[in-house]
């Protein structure tokens, strides 16, 4: 047996997602109430599932074009134009991907030259930093802070920008903080991108899930569409995580080159998922509105419950996560999550799974039933009191 490692050094050097370790522990237990799930508890709307079944009956079981089914791309173009304030040509500017995860990977590999710096914000979704590294980029992290409600500001970006900065990778509404940017924030960050001639990669997967004011997309700012890769998908708002359908809208040259990588690695996104996605975009608005109403009630419930037990939590204006602060209880996020699980059988995700600056916080997903939330909050109140 050769003594050479079978795994490439740069891959070996990548850490496992912090969430994975915790997942294994939770999975070994029974009857856990989990606030750790980053996906909707609602089933995919029936008409969408039905459209998927009908497509199978009809024999739509082949590859689609590399860019994606034309009917879906046209539906995406209409949807993005109606809701995000930018018009894309379905033939040259839209690429259907396997979730936003693939879109992020392909986008980064398409635009990053070795050594280019990419600014991203933490706490954030677990794949951003590794994806930047795998694309040959240098990740430059900006910590968003509790006192700013985890907003990203232009001032923070000005502190880290260098001549080597190539792009920004942003996610608002944000997983795990639930933070939404204001129109002014968006405008300021857009101006920053234009003044420093940077590309913007924006993951707006939670766009429909905002509660206090409507989502503002970066592509709605004049001049931004030309330097932005806008990424969205069906997973969250339409409760379609398992269908694995996302998309990227980008200027023609970028889109065309992203398509090359997608073509060689993936061929085309799953056909059944694409058929379902088209139905969801065309006729899913009512189902989305109903789910949003439910999330919003649960959000209010959770915020009120934290307040009741004296745990400080900024009001998350989007996504379906609350990010309460437990750093003043003299316990680390990981210890809190482990002990809460062992002593009360409730799973929450330690904030540091989303980056070092998440230490002191917990991610509590409210994509679960009111009964579960009520019981989890009652148990948390007991646990928090035991720590005081």
């Amino acid at each position: 047996m050769s003594t050479r490692s079978q795994v490439a050094a740069h891959v070996k050097a990548l850490p496992f997602s912090g969430i994975r370790k915790f997942f294994d522990i939770v999975a070994s237990r029974k009857d856990v109430i989990s606030l750790g799930v980053g996906e909707p508890d609602f089933d995919t709307p029936w008409t969408v599932r039905e459209a998927a079944m009908w497509s199978l009956e009809r024999g739509a079981t082949h590859y689609t074009s590399n860019r994606g089914d034309p009917a879906l791309r046209q539906a995406i173009a209409r949807y993005v134009s109606a809701h995000f304030g930018a018009t894309y040509d379905w033939q040259t500017e839209i690429l259907v991907t396997v979730g936003v995860s693939e879109a992020i990977d392909v986008a980064l590999r398409t635009v990053i030259n070795p050594g280019d710096e990419v600014i991203y914000h933490e706490p954030c979704f677990v794949s951003y930093r590794p994806s930047i590294i795998l694309a040959g980029g240098v990740p430059v992290m900006v910590e968003t802070r509790r006192e700013d409600q985890f907003r990203l500001t232009r001032a923070m970006l000005e502190q880290v920008v260098t001549p080597k900065t190539r792009a920004l990778l942003l996610n608002f509404p944000c997983n795990p903080t639930g933070t939404v940017l204001s129109r002014d924030d968006v405008r300021d960050i857009a101006a920053f991108c234009m003044e420093h001639d940077l590309l913007l990669l924006t993951d707006e997967i939670y766009a429909e899930l905002t509660y206090d004011h409507p989502h503002v997309s970066f592509v709605s700012v004049p001049g931004m569409k030309e330097r932005t890769i806008f990424m969205h998908g069906m997973s969250k708002a339409w409760a379609m995580t398992g269908f694995r359908i996302g998309y990227a809208c980008a200027p023609p040259e970028v889109s065309e080159n992203m398509m090359k990588l997608h073509q060689y690695a993936i061929m085309s996104a799953p056909t059944t998922g694409q058929k379902a996605a088209a139905e969801a975009l065309e006729h899913g608005a009512e189902a989305v509105a109903d789910m949003v109403a439910h999330y919003n009630r649960r959000r209010h419930f959770l915020i009120a419950s934290f307040e009741e037990m004296g745990v400080s939590c900024h009001t998350p204006a989007g996504a379906f996560y609350a990010f309460p602060y437990i750093g003043d209880l003299g316990i680390s996020s990981e210890d809190f999550a482990m002990r809460f699980l062992e002593e009360h059988n409730v799973a929450v995700v330690p904030g540091d799974a989303f980056g070092r600056s998440g230490e002191g916080f917990l991610r509590c997903a409210y994509a679960t039933s009111l009964d579960n939330l009520r019981e989890a909050m009652a148990r948390m109140a007991v646990f928090v009191n035991s720590l005081r």
Partner: protein, 159 residues
């Protein structure tokens, strides 16, 4: 604001305290609003959705289409109100189309329901004809699936 009604329509047993948290009001405000709905007759009751198949014994439900003779003054209302008062009639609607009234009738036995139709309903003045369909299985009631149990297929933790 009908959000309180939306919540109660889904689950009438949610506590006033929980509703208050969800709609960002005080429990007293929520209790007051519910009381107003009850007094105005907007809320007409709270029932439990029971899967009868889990219970011993048989219940028989029939759906009955009824053609009636509308009256010069009052239309269908007088005869409809009269029919609706029979305790066996659990749901009843005025319909467009080939018949006028649609009744959901419950009884302990087939014989009881048949007797209701032939002796009580068909003999009423103004009832022109009836068509009775016995219900075989309940798949969905008031938006709730009755013959499948929901399982959570999700991973317990995911990013």
């Amino acid at each position: 604001m009908t959000e309180i009604l939306d919540i109660l329509k889904e689950n009438a047993r949610v506590s006033v305290e929980d509703i208050a948290k969800m709609v960002q009001k005080t429990p007293a405000e929520v209790a007051q609003r519910i009381k107003e709905y009850e007094q105005a007759g907007t809320i007409r009751g709270y029932r439990t959705l029971v899967n009868e198949e889990h219970l011993p014994g048989e219940r028989v439900t029939a759906v009955i289409e009824v053609k009636v003779q509308p009256e010069r003054e009052g239309g269908f209302d007088r005869i409809a109100r009269r029919i609706s008062k029979f305790p066996n009639v659990v749901n009843m609607y005025l319909m467009s189309g080939k018949y006028d009234l649609l009744l959901f009738v419950e009884g302990a036995t087939l014989r009881e329901v048949a007797a209701f139709v032939s002796e009580r309903l068909a003999t009423l003045d103004g009832v022109l004809s009836t068509g009775t369909h016995f219900m075989l299985k309940n798949y969905k009631q008031n938006g709730t699936l009755m013959d499948v149990d929901k399982t959570d297929e999700r991973l317990q933790v995911s990013p």
